[in-house]
Symmetry: C2
Subunit: 349 residues, 2 copies
C-alpha cells in the first residue's frame, strides 16, 4: 500500500483543458462514432467554436467548418478528437490534420487508449513548438492516497446497474437543472469524455489502484455548504471487471446523495452476458452499505432511466411504474418534464 501524502503535499491538480475547442471529426461516415463530438456540441457548446472534418467525412455536428489555422485565428486553443475509431487507433489519414493543428498552436486533446505522445510524428512536432499533446487517460502525476477526511459541501454521485447507460449525461443534466433552478452546482468529470465536456477532471479508471480513491477525493474538493458537486459515476458495483473502480469513486466522493442509472430492458452486463444486470433495489442497498464507510449520511435521492430506445408512451409508463415500485423520484433526464423536476427537488431535501 502507498505511503500517505495529502493533496497539499503533492501539489497536483486535476486535468484542465484549454478552450475554446475545434472539434475534429476525422473521416467519419457513421454518426455513432462521433458521439463525443455530438456530446460536446450539446453539453459544452460554449466551449466549441467549430468543427474540422476531412473531405471523406459525411458526418457533421452542425458547427461552423474551419481548418486549424482559421480556428486558431478565431481564438481556438485546442483541437479535440471527437470521434472514436474501431480499435482506438489513429489512422494515417488523420495525421496531416493533427500535425497542422499542432503547428497552428492548438493543443491536441484525446481520450483514447492509444496515447498521442506515443506516436513519434506527433511527439516530434509537439517537441518543436508550444502546443501540447493532452492524453486524458494519463492521470495527473503524484496523486495522493485517500485520507478519508470528510469534506465540506454536498455531493451527489451517479451510480449504475451497468456501464454505458447514462451516468455521465444524468450527472450533466442534474448539474444543469440545479443551476437553472438557482442552486450552485458543478459537474465533476471522472472519465475522458466528461473531462472534455467540463474542461477538467480525472479519468479515475486510468489511475493506479492504490490512488484511485485519492483521485476521487481530489475531484470534488471542499466547498461551501449550499453548493452541490454532481459527480459522474463509473462502472457498476455489480460489474465483474470494474466494480473496484466504482467503489474507489464511491469511497473517495463521499456522496451525501446518489442517483441510480438504469436502462430498462437491459438484462445482461454489457460484454459479460453470463452476468445479470442487478435490480435497482440491489444497487441502492449495496451503494448505501458500502458508501456509508466514508459518509454515514449517504442516501438514494432518485432513479434515472435511459429510455432512449423507447416510444414516449412506453417510456412514461416505465418511469411511472418504477417510481411506484421503488417509492423514489424517477425520470429520464434527457426527456425532462415534471418527473425530472421532482427528481431535482429531491436533491434539495
Amino acid at each position: 500500500m502507498a505511503d500517505l501524502a495529502s493533496p497539499a503535499e503533492t501539489g497536483v491538480a486535476v486535468h484542465t483543458l484549454p478552450a475554446p475547442y475545434l472539434l475534429f471529426l476525422g473521416d467519419t461516415t457513421e454518426a455513432g462514432f462521433a458521439k463525443t463530438a455530438f456530446g460536446l456540441r450539446d453539453w459544452a457548446g460554449e466551449r466549441c467554436i467549430g468543427e474540422h472534418a476531412l473531405p471523406a467525412a459525411t458526418v457533421s455536428v452542425g458547427l461552423p467548418a474551419m481548418g486549424p489555422r482559421e480556428a486558431a485565428a478565431k481564438g481556438a486553443r485546442a483541437m479535440v478528437i471527437g470521434v472514436a475509431n474501431p480499435g482506438g487507433v489513429i489512422p494515417p489519414s488523420w495525421m496531416p490534420a493533427l500535425i497542422e493543428a499542432l503547428e497552428a498552436g492548438l493543443d491536441l486533446v484525446a481520450g483514447m487508449h492509444t496515447r498521442l505522445a506515443d506516436i513519434p510524428a506527433l511527439a516530434e512536432v509537439a517537441a518543436r513548438g508550444t502546443a501540447r499533446l493532452i492524453d486524458l487517460r494519463v492521470p495527473p502525476a503524484r496523486l495522493p492516497v485517500a485520507s478519508g477526511r470528510k469534506r465540506t459541501g454536498r455531493r451527489l454521485l451517479t451510480v449504475g446497474t451497468d456501464c454505458a447507460l447514462g451516468k455521465k449525461y444524468t450527472a450533466l443534466a442534474i448539474a444543469r437543472g440545479l443551476a437553472e433552478s438557482g442552486t450552485s452546482a458543478t459537474f465533476r468529470a471522472s472519465g475522458q469524455t466528461g473531462i472534455m465536456l467540463a474542461g477538467e477532471g480525472i479519468a479515475i479508471d486510468a489511475v493506479i489502484a492504490d490512488f484511485a480513491s485519492g483521485a476521487a477525493e481530489l475531484l470534488s474538493p471542499d466547498t461551501n455548504s449550499a453548493h452541490i458537486d454532481v459527480i459522474e459515476g463509473q462502472g457498476s458495483l455489480f460489474h465483474p471487471s470494474y466494480a473496484a473502480v466504482s467503489l474507489a469513486l464511491l469511497h473517495g466522493s463521499q456522496p451525501d446523495m446518489f442517483v441510480v442509472c438504469h436502462q430498462p430492458g437491459r438484462t445482461r452486463i454489457l460484454g459479460h452476458p453470463q452476468f445479470p444486470v442487478p435490480p435497482i433495489e440491489a444497487v441502492i442497498e449495496q451503494t448505501v452499505m458500502l458508501g456509508r464507510l466514508t459518509n454515514p449520511e449517504i442516501r438514494c435521492v432518485g432513479i434515472s432511466l435511459n429510455t432512449s430506445g423507447m416510444e414516449a408512451g412506453a417510456a412514461e409508463r416505465e418511469i411511472a411504474e418504477t417510481e411506484a415500485r421503488l417509492g423514489m423520484p424517477t425520470a429520464d433526464p434527457i426527456r425532462g418534464g415534471d418527473a425530472f423536476r421532482r427528481l431535482l427537488a429531491s436533491c434539495h431535501s
Copy 2:
C-alpha cells in the same frame, strides 16, 4: 473503461524473479527496517544464499555474509533489497554496493515506491551490462481487463479487518501447512514482499484501476480440481483508502474460501484513527456479499489472529474465545498447534 483483451491476447505473465538471492541489508541498525530480509530467510530460505551488509550495519539475518561478486560466483542471480528506509528512498551510501551487484551480473530487485530505473546512476550501469533493474511496483505491461470467467481448481484468499496485520504470512502458513499435509497448494503473491518470497506475482495495488481485477485473474490461473491456490490478500474492504484494491482482488481471485485476518486489540484503522476496525463478523458478511458476484460458492473457512504482541496464555484464551463466538476454526498460524491444524482441515471440507 478499457477495451476487453484476454490474457492469451496480451501475452504477458506475472513478474518472475531469478534466484537464488543475495539479500542486501544496507547500513541498517534497526531490525524492524529489515523485516523483508527476515521474512525471506524464514519463508523462502531455499531462495537465499547469503546476505550483504555495509560496514555500518548492525543487523544480520544470520545467512553467510558475502559480497556481490562472491555471491555471483556461488550462483546468485539477483540481489534483493531486503531493507526499508524511512521515506522509501535509496541513500547515497547504498549506491556503490548496488552498482557492484549490477556489475557482477546480479539483477537488482526492489519493491519501493522510488523506482530503481529512475535512478540515473543505476540505469546507466544496467544499460551497459546484462543485469536488470526489477521494480516490483511496476506492474507487467498489457494486463487484461477481468473477464469474470470462472476458472478451474480451488482458491483461498486471505482478507483482513485492516492493512498490515498478517494476510501475507497467513497465506504462506496455510500454503505450507496444506503442502505438508499432502495437498497440492501454491502461495500466490499480490504484493512486493510476497513476490520476493514466491519468486513471482503481481503487486495488485500498483496496477491501473481498470485492470486490477484482470491482474488478479492472471495471478491464479486455471488449475486442477484438487489444487488450492492460496492468495495473499491486500488492504481491507473497510479501509477508506484501499477498499477498492481489496475488492479488485476479491472479484478477480474468485475465491471458494477465505480466511479473515485480525489483530486483537487493534481498534482503529492504521493511519486513519477516525475509522474503527470493523468486527470480524462484518468482514465475513461483506466479503461473502461482494465475493459471490464472481463465485456464488464463496465461504469463510477460518479466522487468523495475529497474537504476536501477546503472552502465550492470553493468546490461547483470545483464540478460544473468538472460535466460540464465531463458531469458526480460529488460530494464530505463526503459533501453529492444534488450532491451526483445525483451520487447515477446514480448507479441505
